[in-house]
């Protein structure tokens, strides 16, 4: 019973942190009416678009992409309308359910597929549909000459629909439909140009690594069903306090495994770099702004569980801190502009993961950083796409340089993203990241020093590698040759970049000092009092600023002032390791891929012997008899005998029947 007491004790601690006596994640959910009752339209509209474009065939070629874009905006509009309706309600009533249909009911499990419209899910809806729609618009230009443009937009719409299922689901099981649905969309889009065998392999890798994570999610659901007899958020979260400590820890760890797969966190990070094989708008939308943050969403949504299991939560923070550094180190060594951005995405999600691992005080900043990151990283990916557009699809930054004059709009918008991610004061990234660093320092004991230190150090490295990327591309000497003719992208591409650039600069100032994001998310996360950081807030801010200046300055000295070699020079062991993603693929090949293939080969060889009837007679046990029969059967005698016997049995029985 002490285990139970302990978890109850912890529950009351976390409740004490909360302003809302109803408890965390236990906001009274009522059935939606009005526009909110039509919340399913947010999913249905892009889903219909995907179906229409895929089934409609060539006749939708001309207007399909535009329709898909329109439907994505329509989904955004419904989302806004739902938010307007929600703001009209008292804060504690801002959780509406939309029951849809009786989906899986068997034994203990009685599961209605339904949506949960609450501040957390709707914050994601805004991010997904707004950034997603902008990227649809951008793609109208980026994919203009692609022969499979219609299919591309169908997949984009499919992605938006699946991502909305993921965040709007009111149960883990329906969430899982969206979870693997975005995985499918991601697979299809990474492999969009799969005439290149490497791209096809990248798509497979992404799906399979994600499946490893999905085993975690399935396991978590299995434990939930055995423990609570339910999979919907309300029942599981509402009764989490009654479960044993070990059970909750296991659920927490299993969910984390799922989150690691989807969000490319250590040790399941290996697929994200390869995923850059997809067209760049895909990298911006799926592999930067939205899908890869789903793991953070999952942990934040499951706060009722993590609040009761400090052990699992600590592991979340450790995974976040590790990945934060991992991505940052890899990012320093990449010369491929998209892979460098991918490494930075991994690192930034590490920040979010660290933040949700810090407990109630961290959730808000995790989601805040997730939103601002969605803007500034999508902005930079679209910028990278614009650079590639200008440079005949080249991605090697060693062959860029001095592009700031040739593609001014791209340069300026990219600069906004760069300022935000390195945490330049008062940009969006500064607000959200600095709060994560400060919160990390409020942890007690070693945790505060380690997590705070890592977060601070990461900020310095981020400033270095992002500045490296920025300077190698836009500053220094032009290292491209006569065959490249840099030109600015059309407005249909640059306008979305401008919008996102604006967001990268001001979104933090708009959302945080005004109290908008805090007030909006408080009904979900509760009001958590900040503890005192181990060192004064001002000192943290100054340190972060100094590290940023040092990191950016170092990059300026190395990549803008000095000449950048056109091929990567010989480097130290650390750099070589970072270029190879710290040997992640080598490790995976040695531990997983190699043995799997070896097992498959062994199984095939062994089975061939069995199937061919043991040509050498070398089969064992009871199979000897069968293989012997088979060998004799070759002459056709046994075969006809067996068949005769069978026919005889049936004939005799038939005759007996007739004679009755």
């Amino acid at each position: 019973m002490s285990v139970h007491d302990l978890s109850h004790g912890l529950a009351s601690v976390s409740l004490a942190l909360a302003d809302d006596p109803g408890g965390l994640g236990a906001t009274h959910a009522t059935q939606a009416e009005g526009i909110a009752g039509l919340g399913w339209l947010m999913i249905a509209l892009p889903l219909a678009g995907a179906a229409l474009l895929l089934l409609g065939g060539r006749m939708t070629n001309s207007w399909g992409p535009a329709l898909a874009t329109l439907l994505s905006w329509a989904s955004f509009a419904v989302g806004v309308a739902v938010i307007v309706q929600l703001t009209g309600l008292p804060a504690e009533e801002r959780a509406l359910t939309v029951p849809l249909w009786d989906w899986v009911s068997v034994g203990d499990l009685s599961l209605t597929a339904g949506l949960l419209l609450d501040p957390l899910s709707l914050a994601f809806v805004m991010l997904i549909t707004f950034v997603g729609s902008l990227i649809h618009v951008y793609s109208l230009g980026y994919m203009e000459h692609d022969p499979d443009k219609r299919r591309f937009f169908a997949y984009l719409n499919l992605f938006v629909a699946a991502m909305l299922i993921l965040v709007l689901a009111d149960s883990y099981l329906l969430l899982f439909v969206g979870w693997e649905g975005v995985g499918l969309a991601s697979y299809l889009l990474i492999g969009f140009w799969n005439w290149n065998p490497e791209y096809a392999a990248a798509a497979n890798k992404a799906f399979v690594v994600n499946r490893v994570g999905d085993v975690g999610l399935i396991t978590a659901m299995a434990i939930m069903l055995a423990t609570f007899g339910a999979l919907d958020f309300a029942t599981v979260h509402g009764n989490a306090g009654g479960a044993g400590d070990l059970t909750l820890t296991l659920i927490g760890l299993a969910l984390l495994l799922g989150a690691c797969g989807k969000s490319a966190q250590f040790p399941l990070q290996s697929w994200l770099g390869d995923a850059m094989a997809g067209p760049t708008p895909v990298s911006a939308l799926i592999h930067a702004a939205t899908m890869v943050t789903a793991g953070v969403y999952l942990i934040a949504r499951s706060q009722a569980i993590y609040d009761l299991t400090p052990d699992a939560r600590l592991v979340v923070a450790i995974v976040g801190a590790l990945t934060l550094l991992y991505g940052a180190i890899v990012g320093c060594a990449k010369d491929d502009i998209k892979k460098a951005l991918a490494a930075s995405t991994m690192s930034q999600i590490g920040y979010m993961m660290l933040a949700v691992g810090l407990g109630p005080v961290g959730y808000l900043y995790a989601i805040f950083h997730l939103v601002t990151h969605g803007f500034f990283k999508a902005n930079m990916f679209l910028g990278a796409g614009s650079v590639m557009h200008a440079m005949d699809n080249r991605v090697d930054m060693r062959r860029f340089g001095a592009l700031r004059t040739d593609i001014k709009i791209t340069f300026v918008t990219f600069a906004a993203g760069w300022l935000a991610i390195i945490g330049f004061p008062f940009t969006a990234g500064w607000f959200s990241k600095d709060y994560i660093i400060e919160t990390a320092f409020t942890m007690e004991g070693w945790q505060g020093w380690v997590f705070g230190g890592v977060a601070l150090l990461g900020a310095g490295i981020t400033a270095f590698y992002m500045s490296r990327l920025f300077f190698m591309t836009f500053f220094g000497t032009a290292r491209w040759h006569d065959d490249a003719h840099p030109h600015e992208s059309p407005l249909v591409m640059t306008v979305p970049m401008m919008v996102l650039a604006l967001g990268s600069l001001v979104l933090g100032a708009v959302l945080y000092p005004t109290g908008i994001i805090t007030g909006w998310l408080e009904p979900v996360f509760g009001h958590a009092e900040h503890g005192e950081p181990l060192i004064p807030v001002l000192a943290i801010q100054i340190s972060a600023f100094v590290l940023m200046v040092v990191g950016a300055g170092l990059a300026w000295m190395m990549y803008a002032r000095r000449d950048v070699p056109e091929t990567a020079p010989e480097a130290s062991l650390v750099t070589v390791a970072a270029r190879r993603d710290l040997f992640q693929d080598d490790v995976n090949d040695a531990i997983f891929t190699g043995p799997t293939m070896a097992l498959a080969r062994t199984a095939v060889d062994a089975d061939a012997t069995l199937v061919e009837g043991g040509v050498t007679g070398g089969t064992t046990g009871g199979l000897n008899a069968v293989s012997g029969m088979l060998r004799r059967a070759q002459n056709g005698f046994v075969r006809s005998y067996a068949l005769t016997m069978l026919l005889g049995v049936v004939a005799i029985l038939g005759a007996v029947w007739v004679m009755q």
């Binding site: 068997v106 034994g107 497979n204 055995a226 029969m629 088979l630 059967a633 049936v650």
Partner: protein
């Protein structure tokens, strides 16, 4: 007297088969008559389903029953009846037969009487299929169990590929071996029962007071036959050869429907007749199920022959089904029986679409493909969708059943549940690698690809109902679950097991939640 629905279902295709074989040479009517019969049978089957009461009638386990004395000297009755599990299997077969006929439309040219035979055999097979699932007399079941081998034997042995003779013989010998062992057990259980003129009736043989020893031997007699049929490792070895050599439409009926007799038989006979022995054998069977699940998956990963690959995925999926049956929870067993339905559609999609590719390329070898997404985009797309069903993507049919098996197994055996969940990773590998080899890569060029066209109108009629079934069963499995669950509860009750209780009583907390769940 009520309308004899099941006998009608049994006789209609036989009449059709006779009519088809009597048609004159050179007529164009063979295929329309065969398809018409299959569709008519399907319509009657739907009619029968409307007469079925989901919640039971309160008059015994089976509905739509017809019981007549057949060979009273031996205690054999002509007894038909269905519960939710057998009805779902019959309906699955009735839906798949016309689809397979459309897929097999051009398999055999209308020269001589070969086409007559081909379609007549398919109709005869569908009749046997109904009989084997509807029989509620153990001996009658045995007769259908053996009789259905005949059309399959000829379908493989006459219309199969170059090594068809060996494939057909292997299939026949394995099945006969299993069948003979079962025959001994069938007679054994009769002798242990009340005997008399209706001594083989299932209802007369349930709940026998068998000695522990006898029960276990008889159980094994049935189980071996069913394990061969299912097929489970290590008695699966007839399947790859049969699936490789048979026409895809034959494989669908064989693997998608007839092999379910194995898992169906485990529930209907092994569990119902020998509850004690079933509990006794459970650890061994769970182990074999897990081995089948993983060995099948590894074997599929290593294949280069498309049809063989698909047959090995089935061995893996049968591993899931047997696991769910012998985990003995309502969730796992309902999941397993739902899987039996879903697997039929998944297999149909995979085999038939692979057949379309093979017919175009003239090769089953994956290495002869590559880049077909850009040769026949629709066929490649259908392969992908069928594959996604095979890897149990949520939203498609297999997911619900696979998930229920995993979480239901976890309720009783947590470790087995988690280990089986690892199978979903391997499923992703074998399906996606197959798709990668067939469809991705640069667009192929060469003389062998000239004149190849994308999916024809006929083929769309094959694919459309299968994909529709994927989606309907994925998002709205409720009618099938409602059909299956009472039968599963009955089976659990017979074996004398009940579901493990949940750890946390959620009812109290629930009401204070104010939630509508």
């Amino acid at each position: 007297m009520n309308f004899p629905w099941l006998t009608t279902l049994l006789v209609l295709p036989l009449v059709g088969a006779l009519a088809v074989s009597l048609l004159p040479k050179g007529t164009g009517l063979v295929r329309p008559v065969a398809l018409g019969t299959a569709l008519l049978t399907l319509a009657v089957g739907i009619g029968a389903a409307t007469q079925f009461r989901f919640g039971g009638t309160g008059e015994g386990q089976f509905q739509l029953t017809e019981v007549y004395s057949w060979i009273p000297q031996f205690g054999v009755s002509y007894a038909l009846g269905v519960d939710g599990i057998s009805l779902s299997m019959i309906l699955l077969g009735l839906v798949l037969v016309p689809i397979c006929m459309i897929a097999a439309w051009d398999d055999v040219p209308a020269v001589g009487r070969r086409q007559h035979t081909y379609f007549a055999l398919m109709l005869a097979l569908s009749s046997m299929m109904i009989g084997v699932f509807a029989a509620i007399d153990v001996f009658l079941f045995y007769v259908f169990f053996e009789a259905m081998l005949i059309p399959v034997y000829f379908l493989i042995g006459v219309f199969g590929g170059t090594r068809r003779a060996k494939a057909a013989t292997t299939f026949l010998l394995y099945s006969l071996a299993g069948g003979l062992i079962m025959l001994v057990a069938v007679i054994g259980v009769y002798l242990a029962g009340p005997r008399g003129t209706d001594g083989f009736l299932l209802s007369n043989l349930t709940g026998l007071d068998l000695s522990v020893e006898a029960g276990r031997w008889l159980f094994l007699g049935f189980f071996v036959a069913f394990a061969i049929k299912a097929p489970m490792w290590p008695v699966h070895t007839w399947l790859p050869l049969a699936a490789e050599q048979a026409r895809p439409a034959t494989s669908v009926l064989l693997v998608g429907v007839l092999d379910k007799v194995g898992t169906y038989g485990m529930i209907r006979f092994c569990l119902a007749l020998f509850p004690e022995a079933s509990r006794w054998a459970t650890p061994a069977i769970l182990t074999l199920a897990l081995i089948s699940l993983f060995v099948g998956a590894f074997l599929a990963i290593g294949q280069t022959d498309m049809l063989r690959l698909i047959s090995y995925t089935s061995i893996s999926h049968f591993g899931f089904i047997v696991l769910g049956i012998f985990a003995f929870t309502t969730v796992s067993q309902t999941g397993a029986t739902l899987y039996m339905v879903n697997h039929g559609f998944t297999t149909a999609g995979l085999f038939l679409v692979a057949g379309m590719l093979i017919a175009r390329r003239g090769s089953r070898d994956l290495r002869d493909f590559g880049g077909w997404q850009r040769v026949t985009p629709l066929v490649a797309g259908a392969l992908l969708v069928s594959g996604l069903s095979g890897l149990a993507l949520p939203g498609l049919n297999s997911f619900v059943s696979e998930f229920l098996v995993i979480v239901g197994t976890f309720q009783r055996h947590p470790w087995l549940g988690i280990i089986s969940a690892l199978g979903v990773i391997l499923a992703a590998v074998y399906i996606l690698v197959m798709y990668q080899k067939v469809a991705t890569g640069p667009k192929p060029e060469g003389p062998e690809l000239e004149g190849i066209t994308d999916m024809s109108g006929r083929e769309k009629w094959v694919v459309a109902p299968i994909i529709a079934a994927f989606l309907v069963l994925g998002f709205y499995p409720k009618p099938v679950l409602d059909l299956l669950e009472p039968a599963v509860e009955q089976s659990m009750q017979t074996v004398g097991v009940s579901d493990p209780a949940t750890v946390v009583d959620t009812s109290a907390n629930h009401s204070t939640e104010g939630s509508d769940h």
